[in-house]
Amino acid sequence: MKTILVIGNGLAGMTAAIRAAELGCSVILAAPTEPNRSQSVMASGGINAALNTKGEDDSPAQHAEDTLRAGCGLADPQAVQEMTEATPQIIEVLSRRGVVFDRDQTVAVNPLYLDGTEKGADVLKAGNIALRNFGGQKKKRTAYAKSGIGMQLVTAIMTELRRYQAEGRVTSLYRRKFVSPVFAAGRCAGAVFENTVTGSLETVQADAVIAASGGMGGLFDRHTGSDLSDGSVTAALFAKGAAAANLEMIQYHPTTISTPAKNMLVSEAARGEGGRLFTMRDGKRWYFMEEWYPEGGNLMPRDVVSRAIHKVCKDGFGLDGKYQVGLELETLPKETVSEKLKEISELAKTYLGIDASHEFIPVSPAIHYFMGGLYVDRFHRTTLPGVYAAGECACQYHGANRLGANSTLGAIYGGRVAAETAAREAEGVSAGEFAKAAEAEEAAIRDRLSLHRAVTREINAVRRLKQLMSSSLGIIRDEAELQAGLLELAGISPRDVYAPKNHTADAILFEDKLLLARAILSSALARKESRGGHARADYPQTDEAFCKVTVAEWNGSDVQVRFDEIGRVFA
């Protein structure tokens, strides 16, 4: 029986684990926490699927077309088509596995239910899965669950995972932090983890490894996600030679609230229900989106709105002189604010002390999603033999920009594909061979750690890195800022960083993060054009010559960036 090791237990990781187990593999699912603590649980708006139940003549082909258009030429058309074709079936399976989607309407077939008989109750029929409009798509195609799709998906998939665990087909290891892959006979044969309870290094042997470790928000100062998704696995694999792609493609969400802890998403629903963005000019509210984009107004695509807010603030029109504009909800009907926009009003009340039915909400753009990541082909192979990647850590499906509600889909579909490829290609080494390689890898980790001096605590080093990354990789970048970022990065001495006991490996993961940070900045520097999630002040035009994948690689002494044709398949 083949053993598959999955790293990370968000939507991509859990789905990959279940699929690999279905295919008869023995699965080890390792992560620092329980699945429902992962960033996936935060997804709010929905998951896209061309179910075509709204009489709008929708189809997977149109879903693919919209995805590719949002991707501005950088998404792999074949991968995207395969995903959108599989999607209606995936949603059907999710529904049958108990995901509580919102439903169109319900039909009471048998009124006997009223006298309390179970049989009567059971013939009550659920209506179709409800679909809503979402940014960048003309058809109603986004399945949702009130405003918490992530929680509903994670709970249901975790429920299914529980069965596989009970049957002994998936073993979950918690409080394990991935530190490094182990290579034997030219392939990845497992990994080294730090046990964050005991602080000891532990090795896990496997015939294939799937990285499902999420995005890189934790490398940036202000982002909407979880700091657990900190790019550490991507960084550790990158440091071992895995190529990374389109790292500069970073999606900013235009409307987030800035709280002492973090930036929190205010979903498009606020503007969908009539919320207006404004700032003050000559003592009056200036609805700049409506003035600049009379047709699309406040509901223009995310990148357009983000850049508009950025411009207003850079031109000195930020509200109260800060990097923020106002979101006007107080003029909407009171029930809209308190009912339809309940979560948003609660967020504003809890974290800003603002009553949205009486006052505007100050909002600003913040980092929300990473289109780039580990370079994978449409089978989810990375460039390292034996290592596969899926979910937000992988560069797949979204090209230069992601369509809202496509990433939970990409994580679930990608997790399946990665598991199928891994199960097919898994090829292990003997226990003896692995033990030898693992021992060498552990020794290498200890050697690296022994070089570290206790000068700066990791939490503070990360904080500095986050600030640097956020200021160099704003909504609009230019050569000078990116070069300054690289220069500052070079000034951070990785070996002066140390981490508290039981987390000592964080110090070497920090070294790897510095490399990844360099790759992100270098990729942004190399793409001398503007496209999707990458806007350059010094190269504002889109240049057809750059309709290619940005590929960054670490060759042991330098980060190198090149451009590949789209849709490569790795042997």
Binding site: R97, G98, R162, A166, T259, P260, P500
Partner: protein, 229 residues
């Protein structure tokens, strides 16, 4: 505003002083303390950074549950203004301690497995209680309800509100014998040990209507006695 933060470490209090805004959540206070290098307590002694858990930072993931001034709560939505100026932080006491404010909540997940809370095969969506199913599936498995519960010890066969809540959605989505089996699990591991004090509902950060779910399952159990497939 000046204040003190006391953290339970190995059964003893370690106290720090600091100055925070009323709007600063406990999560930010803990990060701030851990960024002090060296970290000194009020007596000027150097101590190890504080172990605690956090992920979403905004009341979605349940990671940051701890006992704040004697009440189980989420650190990310408890603010200095309401909990200060002197804040006491303790780990949830019903779970094995890892260190400081960090506990191992695996037993809560294991109890859901023990009750076989899964769907044996695909189900047709049911709309009977769709809003309640949604609420039930919103449980963060934070453990606040177990902490406050007078009857939950973490060792016996009583799995508390978190267990009963999870039972609801699965039982509600199932039919016939499979449903009855889960309702039996609810009776064995939930209802029979619950004294209906309902403190759980008061501390649940998700406001899950636990009392309603419990009474629905009790009703379904009675109904199911009269049903033959």
């Amino acid at each position: 505003m000046k204040g003190t933060i006391s953290v339970k470490r190995d059964g003893k209090w370690v106290t720090f002083s600091g100055e925070y805004e009323a709007t600063t959540p406990v999560t930010v206070i803990l990060s701030e303390l851990n960024s002090r290098d060296p970290l000194l307590d009020v007596k000027g002694r150097e101590v190890e950074p504080i172990e605690w858990e956090c992920s979403c930072g905004q009341k979605v993931c349940g990671a940051c549950a701890m006992v704040i001034n004697g009440t189980p709560r989420l650190a990310c939505s408890t603010f200095f203004g309401e909990a200060g100026p002197d804040i006491r932080l303790e780990p949830l006491s019903k779970f094995p301690l890892i260190a400081d404010l960090k506990v191992d909540r695996t037993q809560m997940y294991d109890s859901l497995s023990e009750m076989k809370l899964w769907l044996d095969e695909g189900v047709d969506a049911k709309v009977r209680n769709i809003d309640l199913q949604y609420a039930s599936a919103s449980c963060m498995l934070c453990g606040c309800c177990l902490e406050i519960c007078p009857n939950y010890t973490g060792r016996g066969k009583f799995f508390g509100a978190a267990g009963m809540n999870a039972c609801f959605r699965i039982a509600d989505q199932l039919d016939g014998a499979a449903k009855r089996a889960r309702l039996k699990e609810f009776a064995r591991h939930g209802d029979s040990g619950c004294s209906k004090s309902l403190s759980c509902g008061q501390v649940c950060p998700q406001n899950i209507p636990l009392a309603v779910l419990i009474s629905r399952m009790n009703r379904d159990r009675i109904i199911s006695r009269f049903i033959r497939d």
